[in-house]
Structures are given as C-alpha cells and as structure tokens.
C-alpha cells in the first residue's frame, strides 16, 4: 500500500498545525462558530446532536495494522472506546472535544492519516473497489489512480469552495463494487483496442434527494491526461453548478439541466484549453505509485480446506471472495453482528482486526462501503485459524450480502439532519430475520436504511431500501424496492405510503415472503422483483 514520502508527511503536518491554530482562534473567541464552521468542515469535524463528530479519511479504504491500531487507540483516548466505519470507506468518532481535536489529528499524522476534506464543499476522500489488488476479475489495481487523484485533490486551490460536496470513485473491473455510477465522478480504468490503459468517465451520479445514475461522458481518457480531464470536469462544475439552492447544487443537477451532451461539450472545450496549460503530472509519478500496490509475496498452497464444521463452512461460503491467486481468498469481517450497530467496532475489535491482518493478510485491510472490513489476501490454508479467532472476538458473523448485512446511516441517534432513527431499526430487522432462521433462505438481499432524504444509508440503491421521514412529528418509514449499486445500477422505487417502525418490519417480512413464494430457480430478491415488477408487492402490502 502507499507510504508517504517527506512531501506527503509535510503536507499533513502543516494541516495539523493550521487546524490547531484555527481551533485555538475559536476557543479564544477570536472567531465565531459561523466563521469556524467552514474550517472545521474542511477537516471533517461536524457539530452533531450531542457533540462534535470527526470523520477520518481512509483513502480508497486501504489501511495497515499500524493505522488500525491507532484508530483503536484514538477510540479509547478521545472517544468512548468505539468507532463507526462509514459508507465512504472512512471511520467516524462521535464524541469529540474541540480542545482535543488537534492532538488527535497529530496522532493520526504519526501513522500517515488525516481528516482532510472529509467534509465541506470540496473533493472528498477518493473511494475504490474494496477487493482492489485481490479480485480475480480486475484489469489492473485501481488504487494508483485513486492515489494520484487523492494528491491532486488535496488542498486544491480552485476547487475548495465548490457549489456542494464532490465524491469520486475509481474502479478497474466490470463488476462494480464501489457504486461507481452513484458518484459525482465515477472512473473505470479500461483498456482500448490498442491495449493501452485509460479512464472511462461517468459524471453526475449521486443519491441524496434527487438520485441519479451517472452518464458516460467519455469512453477513454489517456492516463497522461487523467488529471487534466478531471480538472476540466470540476472547473465547468465550479463555474456553472447551481449555488442558489443547496438541494440543487450537486453536479448531477448541472449535468441533468444542461443535458449530458452540453455538459460534455463544455468539459471537452475546457479540457482542450487546459491541455495547453501543462497541469498534468508526469507519467513517472504513476510509475512511482504503482509499485506501492504491487502484489505481496504470494505463495502456493492448498486450494481447498476441510469444511466439515457447518458453522465454518457457512462463513467460508458467505464471507470469502475469489482471489486472483487460487490458493488465496479475500475474507470479509462482518461488522453486522445480529442485533448490533452496523459498522461499529470497539477498540478491542479494531486491535484484533489489525493483528489478524498482520498475521494472515500481508498487513493490509480494506474498509468496504457496506461498512465491513476485508482482509484482502488470506491463504485458504489459514482460513480456519482466522475464523476461530474472529469468532472469539465476536467478529465471525456469516452474513455478507444477506438481509443482516444492513447499511444504515447514524440516523437520529447521532445526526442533526436525521428525521428518524436508523440504527434501532437495523438492529431489530437483523434480529427478527436471524431468529426466524430466514436469513439463509433469502440469500443475497441488500437492505439499506437512511434516516433522512440525504440518503447516507444508500436507500435508493438497496434491493430493499428504507427511508426515514418525519410525519407530523412522528418517525415514519417509506419502503423502496429494486435498487442496485452494482454494475446493473438501478434506483429503487417507493412502494406507497409509509409505515411506523413495527409496520415497516412487518412490510419487509411481507415482501420477502412474496419473493420466496414467487421466485424461480436461482433468482435473488432483486431478480424476482425485476421479473414480476412492483404491482404484486404493492398488492401484498396494501390490499
């Protein structure tokens, strides 16, 4: 994985000192909360319902054991002994004190981490495929490109006060594990007929209150023009994105209102102009970055393992992913224990995950956008030992991609924007389906819960989505069906009128029962929904 050189370290250290100065000015009363707001937001610090929340960037979700140990230590030292892994492959701490934040950032900087641009109307942390460098189906590792974009977007002088936040994802396989087309810019590294690598640009996707799937605006940007093209996309947005209404300020609205063709024309014009400016990094920089993501020293070994223990067999079946080397797999550590808070991990669990990564996965982990942790390179021969240790730490839930593997935003328990609670609902749903023994029968079923229309819980992209709304002062939940964040990206549709908390759980049972009744051989919930449409589900729910 990438390691800072003296330049990267100096930038992060400078940022810590800048924030220390800014926080001191606030604490001294030299600036108002209103003036402090944009400064803390550029540093991932939100004022939430009960306290400050700090979001720490984990670039493209990759981290090593030293970093994970530090995240655990920070949870103990500055928070209440736990952290929350997010859908943007980051981690959040919920109980921060302003007086201590600069020290926390200095601790982070000591392990090459930061909270730069994890909030604010700027280019956010770059996300990527959580199986990068391990998946059997990838063209190349997408992370060198994500790292190049990380550096380019850090403290970008022109694009730090955009109309709205800006999220970029980079993948390099046809299977999309990063919800790429639901980002402001989605980049897929592709190969042209001449065998050269380049980038396909999808621009203007997003969730929020107006979900949109990003259209393809250019099939192939040569690698030595990647930054210049990105800059052109951003400049057109910075100049012409709407600023009159924050709900219409994302780039998806600009692309939609201008039309894909006109937006593309403007980008191409700006791109031609910027090519003459010579702003592109030298290709040597990509060459410098690639070796950091080179394969670790893989060894040959057994390709199978004894699965006579049914619990172990289920975990292997559910939580491992095919690796490009047939003696390895990627193993997913579920942060979705039945009845637990999705994405939360205690400091003890973080230490365990760090130790296991060091022992079994070449000292590397990934945060998934589904709020789980991946050990990317595990020898098949080591799987039983790994699983045994995970079980002991209550990290062995065998439920990847099942109805228990719920994405949920922090909701009204923490968030000042939320209309409804997400976490207790997720806890009740996973408990209900686990107790009834229906999880396994339902197979792959992606359930996603947002506590408000901002859609941090990706409800638009759930096979089943739940949106919490405020209905005359009480929490109400709308049910959505048929979304997908994968390469077959689709936006879920609302079934009809909403439900109270008990009602929406019953509604999920109703639609999943209908699926079991109607499904054909091999169909997932999403497949059955696509085949039979919304009407039978509506009838079952409302008639």
């Amino acid at each position: 994985m990438y390691l800072y050189d003296q330049y990267d370290q100096a930038m992060v250290d400078a940022r810590v000192e800048e924030f220390r100065d800014q926080a001191q000015r606030r604490l001294d009363g030299r600036i108002t909360e209103e003036q402090f707001r944009p400064l803390r937001l550029m540093n991932g610090l939100y004022l939430q319902l009960h306290a400050y929340m700090l979001r720490v960037a984990i670039p493209y979700g990759t981290l090593n054991s030293r970093q994970m140990h530090m995240l655990a230590d920070i949870a103990d030292k500055y928070d209440r002994g736990y952290g929350h892994f997010t859908t943007r492959q980051n981690i959040q701490y919920n109980w921060m004190k302003l007086e201590e934040t600069a020290d926390l950032l200095a601790d982070l900087a000591s392990v090459e981490m930061h909270a730069i641009q994890t909030s604010g109307n700027c280019i956010r942390n770059i996300s990527s495929d959580h199986f990068a460098g391990a998946a059997a189906d990838e063209l190349v590792d997408p992370r060198p490109y994500a790292e190049l974009l990380r550096q380019w977007s850090s403290f970008h002088p022109e694009f730090s006060f955009l109309p709205r936040k800006f999220k970029i994802a980079v993948i390099a396989s046809d299977t999309d594990r990063a919800a790429m087309k639901l980002h402001d810019i989605g980049i897929q590294i592709v190969q042209n007929d001449a065998g050269e690598l380049g980038a396909a640009f999808y621009v203007g996707g997003g969730m929020g209150r107006t979900p949109m799937i990003a259209p393809l605006i250019r099939e192939f940007v040569p690698l030595d023009q990647l930054i210049t093209y990105s800059e052109a996309c951003l400049r057109v947005y910075n100049r012409y994105g709407r600023r009159d209404n924050k709900y219409k300020a994302r780039i998806k609205i600009l692309v939609h209102e201008l039309g894909k063709e006109e937006y593309t024309r403007q980008v191409e014009e700006e791109f031609q102009h910027l090519l003459d400016e010579g702003i592109e990094p030298p290709l040597a920089e990509l060459e410098r970055l690639r070796p950091y993501f080179a394969d670790p020293d893989f060894a040959d070994g057994p390709k199978t393992i004894d699965r006579s223990d049914p619990d172990f067999a289920l975990w292997v079946e559910r939580n491992t992913h095919r690796h490009k080397r047939d003696s390895y797999v990627s193993a997913v550590i579920s942060l979705k224990p039945v009845g637990g808070i999705p994405g939360d991990a205690t400091s003890e669990q973080m230490h365990v995950m760090a130790d296991l990564a060091k022992e079994y996965s070449f000292d590397e982990m990934r945060v998934m956008h589904t709020q789980n942790i991946v050990l990317p390179h595990v020898r098949i021969a080591d799987l039983h030992a790994l699983w045994t240790k995970l079980e002991a730490a209550e990290l062995g839930a065998p439920n990847l991609d099942t109805i228990e593997d719920i994405i949920a935003c922090p909701g009204l328990d923490y968030c000042s924007l939320a209309n409804a609670r997400s976490i207790p609902l997720a806890q009740r749903i996973s408990t209900r389906f686990a107790e009834k023994g229906k999880t396994e029968e339902l197979g792959q079923l992606k359930l996603k819960i947002s506590g408000c229309i901002n859609a941090c819980g990706h409800h638009h992209a759930g096979h089943i989505g739940i949106l919490g709304v405020d209905k005359k002062g009480t929490e109400n939940y709308q049910l959505l069906l048929g979304g997908s964040e994968a390469e077959d990206t689709a936006l879920a549709k609302i079934t009809g009128r909403g439900f109270d908390e008990d009602g929406v759980i019953a509604a999920i049972e109703t639609v999943t029962d209908l699926y079991i009744d109607k499904r054909e051989e091999g169909e997932r919930f999403l497949d059955t929904y696509r085949r039979i449409g919304m009407d039978p589900f509506k009838e079952a729910l409302y008639d």
């Binding site: 050189d5 330049y7 990267d8 100096a10 930038m11 400078a14 800048e18 100065d21 800014q22 000015r25 003036q35 944009p38 400064l39 109307n121 550096q151 380019w152 850090s154 403290f155 970008h156 002088p157 022109e158 694009f159 730090s160 006060f161 955009l162 400049r235 910075n238 100049r239 600023r243 102009h273 400016e277 010579g278 702003i279 592109e280 990094p281 030298p282 040597a284 920089e285 410098r288």
Partner: protein, 152 residues
C-alpha cells in the same frame, strides 16, 4: 508583502499587495459596463460573470477585482485562473468576504492583491500565505508541484 495604504479604487481597503507597480487609478466598473466602454481599464467581476468575456480586452486592463460576496462562493477562484491562463498580468484583487483561511488558495489562483471587508490580522495572514511547504497541483502561480519535485 506590501501594506497597501494608498491604492487605486479602494485604497483604504487593499490590505495586502504582492506587486511593485503603480496601482491603477480608475474605479472598477461592472463587466457589462466595461464591455460597453472603450476606455475603461478596471473591471469588477461578480460570481455570475463569465470572466472569458474579458479575454479580448486583456491588454487594456490594469485592474481586475473579483468580488466574493460570501466566502462560500468559489466561482472567483476559477475566474482568476481563467484570466491568468489567458495571459492577464496586471493586478488581480480579491475583494469582499475574503478570510484568512482562503487567501492562500487565492494566491495560488493568481490573486496578487487582497481587499477584505474585514481586515485580517497581519500575523495570521503571514502565516496563512506561508502555510504550505509545497503544493500538489500545478496552477497559474510559479510553484512547482510535488510530483515535479519528485521527478527532477
């Protein structure tokens, strides 16, 4: 850094200036008014203006003011860079809601004079201008980005 005390259109307001030349002695007019006048030499760009409309007239421009009615509106950064990229070399002045935490970014986008609505503490400003030991991007200032320094 020069302390601006007697300068041009808003002499009392220019707090920092990174130029040695004489300050333009003309009031800045709106972009629309500028385009209607054959003799204006100073213009004030508002966030909604297209800076590229000025490109045919760069030779006679002696002062461009870019107004930031609110620090959150970042269109002025693009306006400044667009003009610098097109070869504009005279004074580019940031005016309005110009805060200490933005002036470093503004400097990198080609601003060389600053007239903030609320004066900025001198020491804070000096620290802000000198904040970054190096930079990641190539822009219109002369700084070599880190990726060039790595491959010299």
């Amino acid at each position: 850094m020069t302390k601006g005390t007697d300068m041009g259109t808003s002499p009392d307001e220019v707090q920092f200036r990174f130029r040695d030349d004489e300050v333009a002695d003309h009031a800045a007019v709106t972009v629309d008014a500028f385009l209607d006048q054959s003799n204006a030499t100073a213009v004030r760009i508002e966030p909604g203006d297209d800076a590229r409309a000025l490109l045919p007239f760069l030779d006679r421009l002696q002062l461009v003011e870019v107004n930031f009615p609110a620090y959150t509106d970042g269109r002025g950064y693009s306006a400044a860079r667009v003009l610098r990229e097109a070869g504009y070399e005279s004074e580019m002045r940031a005016v309005g809601d110009v805060l200490v935490d933005q002036i470093g970014f503004m400097r990198r986008c080609g601003f060389d004079a600053f007239a903030p609505d609320a004066p900025i503490d001198q020491a804070d400003a000096e620290a802000a201008f000198a904040r970054w030991p190096d930079v990641y991007q190539s822009t219109t200032d002369a700084r070599k980005p880190i990726w060039d320094l790595r491959h010299e």
